[in-house]
Amino acid sequence: MLLKANRLRELVLGPVLMLLSLASAGAAAAGDKVNESWQVNMQPGATEIGQSIYDLHMLIFWICVVIGALVFGVMFYSIFYHRKSRGVTPSTFHESTKAEIAWTVVPFLILIGMAVPATSTLLEIYDFDDADMDVLVTGYQWKWKYEYLNENGENVAFFSNLRTPQGEIYNATDKGEHYLLEVDEPMVIPVDTKVRFLVTANDVIHSFWVPELAVKKDAIPGFINETWTKANVEGIYRGQCAELCGKEHGFMPIVVNVVSKEEYAGWLETKKVEAAEIRGLMAQTFTMDELMTRGKSVYERNCLACHGANGEGGVGTAIAGSTVAMGEVAGHLEIGINGVPGSAMQAFGGQINDVEMAAVITYQRNAFGNNMGDMIQPIDVYNHKKG
């Protein structure tokens, strides 16, 4: 991504490029394209609302361009012709009520012209009625939880974490195509369906933003906000948390996979089966190797950001050699499940399942040189939760 000499030309042409792309934009995006690095304008995206917002944006933009051209035109004419070096004697006029009235009234009328389409688009956005399905979106530090609400109570819920490896972020390996905009498990929604998002947060304020779905709504702890989208093109749409939410604010992307209705139904079915399988695993007893393998991946998704790749600590305390990881199992489980109130250590009991909890606690007790040698099984987690 180094600035290359042959790109300097484009650099100089930045504003021109912008105008060109404005002229050519308009085609709806489709598929999982990688956005171009010289993109200079908003995209209409994959929804009707997105198209309305884009049209509004362009309308205001061109009005500003015209007004700007007039004002700057007059100003630069004056700068070139009304200069002392050309021997001009200054005029002395300094007021005109007519002019003042004119340039109060005319802009006011232009504003009314802008307010009309703005109001109608806003009312469309605020029409939350008749949604075909609801997804509860919960912001966590620093991941998203998606919960598909179902009238029968058979909700499908999962967390969506950043998938980009630490090695790419810290420049140990080459960065992938979707650097920082990839997750372990994307949200999946059907095409041509009005999907209502109920947006909230678990800790601090986050903001759920997917530009191409024309959705941005703050996720506020203790309150539920509504917003919706209706994608008319299948594809993968990527966004990010838009409200500063702490250390990893830049590392909690949103990926929404818009698929056909049939594919969506199949996916939902698979998720339900998976949930049943996990319930089956709860009763199982694992070997040390199995726990360590599962534990490592759970650790990397949930713990690493704060506790470090080698348990060395960071925002969180060090796990390597810690009194918790090398102390009583019950105490360790307690912190993993219920967190440490008043600190950044969250209660993970509701975020990861008992198998994952058993595995990650086992991992923390045996990795990073802790070598405690003990194993925790899902049943232990279950019992601890029951008290």
Partner: protein, 520 residues
Amino acid sequence: MGAHHHGPAKGLSRWLFTTNHKDIGTMYLWFSFSMFILGGAFAMITRAELFQPGMQLINPAFFNQMTTLHGLIMVFGAIMPSFVGLANWMIPMMIGAPDMALPRMNNWSFWILPPAFLILASTLFMEGGAPNFGWTFYAPLSTTYAPPSVTYFIFSIHVLGLSSIMGSINIIATVMNMRAPGMTYMKMPLFVWTWLITAFLLVAVMPVLAGAVTMMLMDIHFGTSFFSAAGGGDPVLFQHIFWFFGHPEVYIIILPAFGVVSQIIPAFARKPLFGYDSMVYATAAIAFLSFVVWAHHMYTVGMPVAGELFFMYATMLIAVPTGVKVFNWVTTMWRGSMTFETPMLFCIGFLVLFTIGGFTGLMLSIAPADFQYHDSYFVVAHFHYVMVAGAVFSMSAAVYYWLPKWCGRMYNEAMGKTHFWISFVGFNIAFFPQHFVGLAGMPRRIPDYALQFADFNMISSIGAFIYGASQILFLYNVVATIVAGKPTSDAKTWEGAEGLEWTVATPAPYHTFETPPQVR
């Protein structure tokens, strides 16, 4: 002049105990410039990290501390005190007063500032680091989830708020009571007018900010739940209170800048300011509107649609008085006899860039479109166009314009113009591309970004370094002028300059207008 007229005391006590408006103004200006350099250094660190995708120089936690301190220091440490310094120097001289109305309080309002910022800067060395929740410090990130240093941050906000309130009371008292005979309100220079209105805004909203941080303090240490839903409070309440302060705050920053530009453009156009009365009314209208538009910073928090519409319409209205101002400035230039010394260049730069910032402001006011712009780099670009190109450019113009009057020496014009052009070009390279990445979907306040934003971010960083470096030239030029500039004793440095400050000797004596002038 009798023998009882004393000059400045010698040594440190001159500055510590001074009640002279010029000395205090000078201290404000130097203090704000040092804060400008510090806040700028923090910005350079963030731009260096953002030079390439991936984390190279600092970690995300420190990045957040840098963006937070950059914002806080620039707003409260650099821009606001710089205009207070300018007010101290110029208002008494412009209205024919011997000094500020409350000189001892004047001393106090300056001297509590350095400790406040020392406390704020010291948080960098505290356990858990400096404040890391952005200069807007939204709860609960700034309360329940804040580092322990937040308490020091709250204290320093209280102290600098106190300083601002005292400074404003002083300005109001001075302007209302100490105008020379014949100087009616509608004869006051526009800089005095804009500052009078600014001072009222400050007195109105700084207590609101104090209230917000006090509620934070209560939430953190005394078990209240103003901003915690779990205890029956509301995190969004914080934003309403903050922006009720915060929106007038941005006009507090820009109105004195309008005043400066309204002084300088007529001087170099050699033609009176066009539409003086309408300028005054427009300023008052902007100040009034600033109290009823705060929630346009919060379009995405989930307000009811009626609220969105009200704040959208009210915000769009601001374009009218702001437009009047721009049209008046351009008409002042029209058929003048212009020359383009450094102060004029900075004013023209202000006019062009502030207008662009105004346009993007208008775009941002459109609530449905703001759903896409909000919290993206488009917003970052917008407010740097109005804050940097607005406030900082006009401040640079003011320094060049009045420096000969202050120190009796002329600055190096070629170096001044070079400073302008490097600033202008660097600024635009830094901030224009931020419109692009913002529209393309890059959120603000992120330490690392997707590859599609890489090229523009690199350009932006290069521009920021250029802009930053140009300020070193500024510092050098000012110091060189004070130390060894070409001496000048012309009372009127600029051919077209008007106003009482140009009737006193150059350099301005320690005490001016001990006998009030008669204004006709």
